[in-house]
Subunit: 545 residues, 2 copies
Amino acid sequence: MSEPQPPSEPTQEPENEESASLSKKAAKKEAAKLEKLRRRQEQEAAAAAARAESAEPEDPLAANYGDLPLIQLQSMRIADVNDWTEVGALTEALKDQKVLIRGRAQTIRAVGKNMAFIVVREKGFTVQCVATVQPEIVSRQMVKYVAALNRESIIDIEGIVSVPGVAIKGASQQVEVQVRKLYCISKAAVLPINIEDAARSDAEIEKANQAGEQLVRVNQDTRLNFRVLDLRTPANQGIFRIQSQVGTIFRQFLLSEGFFEIHSPKLIAGSSEGGASVFKLDYKGQPACLAQSPQLHKQMAICGDFGRIFEIGPVFRAEDSYTHRHLCEFTGLDIEMEIKWSYFEVMDIVSRLFVTMFDYLNKNCEKELEAVRRQYPFEPLKYLPETLRLTFAEGVQMLKDAGVEVDPMGDLNTEAERKLGQLVLEKYGTEFYILHRYPLAVRPFYTMPCCDNKEYSNSFDVFIRGEEIISGAQRIHVPEFLAERAEARGIEVKTISTYIDSFRYGAPPHGGFGVGLERVVMLFCGLNNIRKTSLFPRDPLRLAP
Amino acid sequence: MSEPQPPSEPTQEPENEESASLSKKAAKKEAAKLEKLRRRQEQEAAAAAARAESAEPEDPLAANYGDLPLIQLQSMRIADVNDWTEVGALTEALKDQKVLIRGRAQTIRAVGKNMAFIVVREKGFTVQCVATVQPEIVSRQMVKYVAALNRESIIDIEGIVSVPGVAIKGASQQVEVQVRKLYCISKAAVLPINIEDAARSDAEIEKANQAGEQLVRVNQDTRLNFRVLDLRTPANQGIFRIQSQVGTIFRQFLLSEGFFEIHSPKLIAGSSEGGASVFKLDYKGQPACLAQSPQLHKQMAICGDFGRIFEIGPVFRAEDSYTHRHLCEFTGLDIEMEIKWSYFEVMDIVSRLFVTMFDYLNKNCEKELEAVRRQYPFEPLKYLPETLRLTFAEGVQMLKDAGVEVDPMGDLNTEAERKLGQLVLEKYGTEFYILHRYPLAVRPFYTMPCCDNKEYSNSFDVFIRGEEIISGAQRIHVPEFLAERAEARGIEVKTISTYIDSFRYGAPPHGGFGVGLERVVMLFCGLNNIRKTSLFPRDPLRLAP
């Protein structure tokens, strides 16, 4: 994903775009439903507040609950850091012990005037807490206060762990906390979207629909507008922990292979690698742009004798792409390495790196993958221990045999790539493979042509579930030839002279590849939109939050 | 370094700026010297080429040497990847064995017409290779070809390992390679700067000066203009491997403490955190800017229940700072974490993280540190196993006691910081310490005031060798209070409404810090200019290469 391709027509794939697929009518209906929900909750909140504020006899136990003012939160230090128990650590072993927990009031339910249940959530774990009126310990006013809490407020609870005789359904932990003290340290306003609505799978909604129950479906755009709430769903908690793992494995594997990490500049003089899809800006009076990839500088680092390097950093593309797989800013995972004789050495790294990564994720991120799967069901990725490699010509032939005619010297479009993915899966049983030896004409100017046929190139793409995620190649390391190829593509050589000059003082043969982090996570988890794997996505229409 | 400070006057510290300290006259002189060198080398190269091209009797051994055309390099595959030996692996154990190596021709020296020495460098290791005329093996023409090679060209050598009776001075490896075949696979042009000139320490130059020998001194700007050559010096090879290690330790430590990695957007709507030092651009018709830090989004991730996170990514500052310690683009190491009650929890992480890092670097990067030290001598950093913490007021008092008057409610300037560093070193024996509880007025608007005195704040800076490298604090998590503080600082609240709104749905108390990667490496290694630790630095005057 990291190598800029020749400028292309604005692409649009409405059939894949979740928010686009939602018709205007449906969106209106959803907005109305959300509005109704909001109004109802506002009324409830107001009523609860009114109840809480209504004249009450003075409570001798008032110190045991309430809103904790900032100054008190900081100065009272109700406990040492080590005295806190994480919700996930609440087990039967703690029976009858006093614990101190902090988390969000996920749900609050009053049972009459003497009892209130609160499900407290911390780091994805939940525990049921119960406030029951008890002389000298829990007052009626306290239960009233608890019942009036807004969902998602942050609360501190001191209580005693108990083990109920029956299984607890609505929480992850199989113990209860009998509330002794409860303080609200951050009050939530009325929520624009509810976490349980945002966490619901399509299957659940349809099932409820069939049973005659109307459940709220939160669409992609609404989620992104209220991203800090959306991020709290179990699926999102899983997605971004998996994303972090992907970066970690990428680094650890490469470090163990003698690579090291660099940070190349994102502010570039002139117009980067050319093409229309570049963000321009003024840099202290000089025309500048944002790097469309670390391509030029990572190759320059190779000329600086860095040998084998990688970079993880933002990549900027001002493309007018409204598809499920394009962003204007994404995280590029890039590598560049000296090679002895062939781009096969680069493909070897790709193959071992990703097999290591997939193995690791399947083995070590079970909980996170399960959280994603519960909301967005997917089949585990099928891949081989030795990654399949096909030449572009072989791929074209497979398509032809299946009745799909494509230009044998052109690039594959998204549809052909997907079809080829299907054919490869049927024939070889893998959803992860490398297609190499692409026609030279469809690759960037710095791509090395094949030595036996200049119509082809020492390049490759890698596919997961029928979608391209990696572009790589051997690069031209001969400055005169590089300049010639740039000119042939209509790039003004003087605008990239510092790049070309880098090869004039001896340059080793080298190659590399780039991959989009968000695409790896999206496709490994079989998600349908790259906006689901970008923390705060940027597309042509979205620059916030 | 990561937290934007209130806009300040353009700063200039010419006394600290290497390139500025070089007077115009000296610069002219250096340029003339370099020009002379370049001309002499050009003449030499031309003469060598002429010699090589002069009519020669046909050589029956011509296949054993020469320039390897691209097509041949790729197709002949002279050896399997595994058949290559790294220069660093050439030891006596390989005596009499045939080896294949690739590297740069660092120096070439002919001895008469029958012998030529080439020092080959790969990954910082060097080996002496000898081509001696021998019937049926090495021709006179081959020796001539070798003698005419340009320095820094990339060559492949096949030869036999021999062990000379005496120590080899000019190379790291204590064996020689008797050349059998030699191919140039990438010819270097005449070099604008020589690697050995760029690698020389000031001490060496002065020593030579005293002995009446004039050696070339390459100044900082020239280095950066020819960065791909400059990067090949042993010191730079060390610096960027240390930089990679710093990032690795940062990540590994935090992962082990329950943090995970995020990637926040660098393209931001409006004007980021305000202030003048922001790069603006047009984003598809919307006004946008480059993030001055991941501050806002990392806090939003905390509101999304991410608990403990870190980010490594570029940070953009359009400041007019021409000092030895400011860049317009640098790599920010940022963390943000929920806290139970105090910013002390954040300082605990700082303390343990950096002590772990320093210990690791000293233990595992000896070779790299030694390479840096040889060119830029420095004393190992003095630090304590338990990081010293002083309050700002204590620091002010220490300065006062030493006769330095500073505003007790203002910020410390660079000079005062350096002085305090000296005093701390004398009193406590450490060059790494934390100064906390800064006056609120000198910290960003989102900083939490102290609960016991609103003139102060729950904030801290961290110093290495008398220079600030880290800024951190507890943040305000109460939206109304945050808006109030922003307004008090003249920031239009509506421009940061998505940020402030993030705290409306329950926000845990939290804090974090930011540190500049380049500053950590610079100060750990006692370097005098941040441009030395940035791969391709960006300052107000430099946007290339």
